[in-house]
């Protein structure tokens, strides 16, 4: 028996761009760039640009492969059903080929033009996001974004390795900061898009363990995040500029997290505080990494 498969017109180039999740890429590129600029040694501008380009392409490849694998659940969520695959603007094979090709290209270019250490970490970050987070954890455990958060934490490490060729304590702390920032950031989002995740059968913490547990976990994860965020200053790895900014920004983050942790959702709740925490968490990471670079460049 033959099954008729509807023929799709070739996907538009904008759909390939959408496959790379450009908005997520912004934060990835920024943290990677800051990791590079915070390194104690300079890097040739062309090589530095290539390293950032490879980080962006690697993140784009991981995003494309994520969308290739998750097309079925993306179709069930309002937030993601407009993406090229669930919307039927692209066939799955094109997305797979694009993702694998882009991943291979970014790693090879990083290895040849920058250095092998940065290429190795970039490879691990892509594989971690696609295999560990997307394929293994996301549909199986509410701890998906806790462990999977490591994937988004690699860029500052890659940026640093691109400049120095190795890894030191400061980039490891930056990795830990993004890693520990991810749970409160995503769980704040998951609190106000809970229905979407539930419809798709994704075991996000609010869906599986309930809202109360999620709020408590947001509060608990903020504690180690705050310690790691401020740690570079007392450890003598940064100057007073990063110290002052990190203390002030982390205090606001902790206050919002505390408000979310101690609040009880009312009927007909607009989730204003949760949305505030989610938005502030994005600003928080931008400002923290920006402060690190300003600190390095002003006080160097």
């Amino acid at each position: 028996m033959t099954v008729a498969v509807p023929l799709l017109p070739p996907a538009d180039w904008r759909d390939f761009l959408a496959l790379t999740k450009p908005r997520v890429m912004t934060l990835v590129v920024f943290t990677g760039l800051c990791g590079m600029l915070a390194a104690p040694v300079g890097i040739d501008p062309v090589i530095g640009f290539t390293a950032i380009l490879c980080i962006a392409l690697g993140a784009g490849a991981a995003g494309a492969l994520n969308q290739w694998y998750e097309a079925d659940i993306d179709a069930l969520m309002r937030r993601t059903q407009g993406r090229p695959l669930p919307a039927g603007r692209m066939d799955r094979q094109s997305a797979l080929h694009f993702g694998v090709g882009l991943a291979a290209f970014s790693v090879i270019l990083m290895g040849l033009a920058v250095n092998l250490a940065a290429a190795a970490i970039l490879t691990v970050s892509i594989l971690f996001y696609v295999l560990v987070y997307t394929v293994w954890l996301k549909r199986r455990t509410p701890q998906n974004i806790v462990i999977g958060g490591a994937a988004g934490a690699f860029p500052p490490l890659i940026g640093w390795a691109a400049a120095t060729g190795d890894v030191a304590l400061l980039p490891l702390l930056l990795f830990s900061l993004v890693f520990l920032w991810t749970p409160p950031h995503f769980w704040a989002l998951a609190l106000f898009v809970k229905t979407d995740y539930a419809n798709a059968g994704v075991p996000m913490l609010p869906v599986v363990a309930g809202e109360r547990v999620t709020r408590t976990q947001i509060g608990l994860y903020t504690i180690p995040m705050a310690i790691v965020a401020i740690a570079p200053w007392p450890l003598g790895l940064t100057g007073w500029i990063y110290g002052a900014v990190s203390v002030a920004m982390t205090a606001v983050f902790a206050l919002l997290a505390l408000m979310v942790a101690t609040r009880t959702q009312a009927a007909d709740d607009s989730m204003k505080v949760e949305k505030q925490l989610f938005k502030f968490s994005i600003l928080y990471l931008f400002v923290m990494f920006g402060a690190l670079v300003v600190d390095r460049w002003v006080l160097a």
């Binding site: 017109p9 070739p10 996907a11 538009d12 180039w13 040739d44 501008p45 062309v46 090589i47 290539t50 380009l53 033009a113």
Partner: protein
């Protein structure tokens, strides 16, 4: 296939070809710049 669908396919193919050409030229420029930088770094 309707003329509208054929037209859509032609437009998509054309825009993808243009984007691919731009990316290939950018890649050539990038590889050239990387080569120059590598030579400069090796000499210093």
């Amino acid at each position: 296939m309707t003329p509208e669908e054929q037209d859509l396919i032609r437009r998509r193919q054309k825009s993808r070809s243009v984007v691919m050409a731009v990316l290939l030229v950018a890649l050539v420029v990038l590889i050239f710049a990387i080569t120059l930088s590598r030579i400069k770094l090796a000499m210093t």
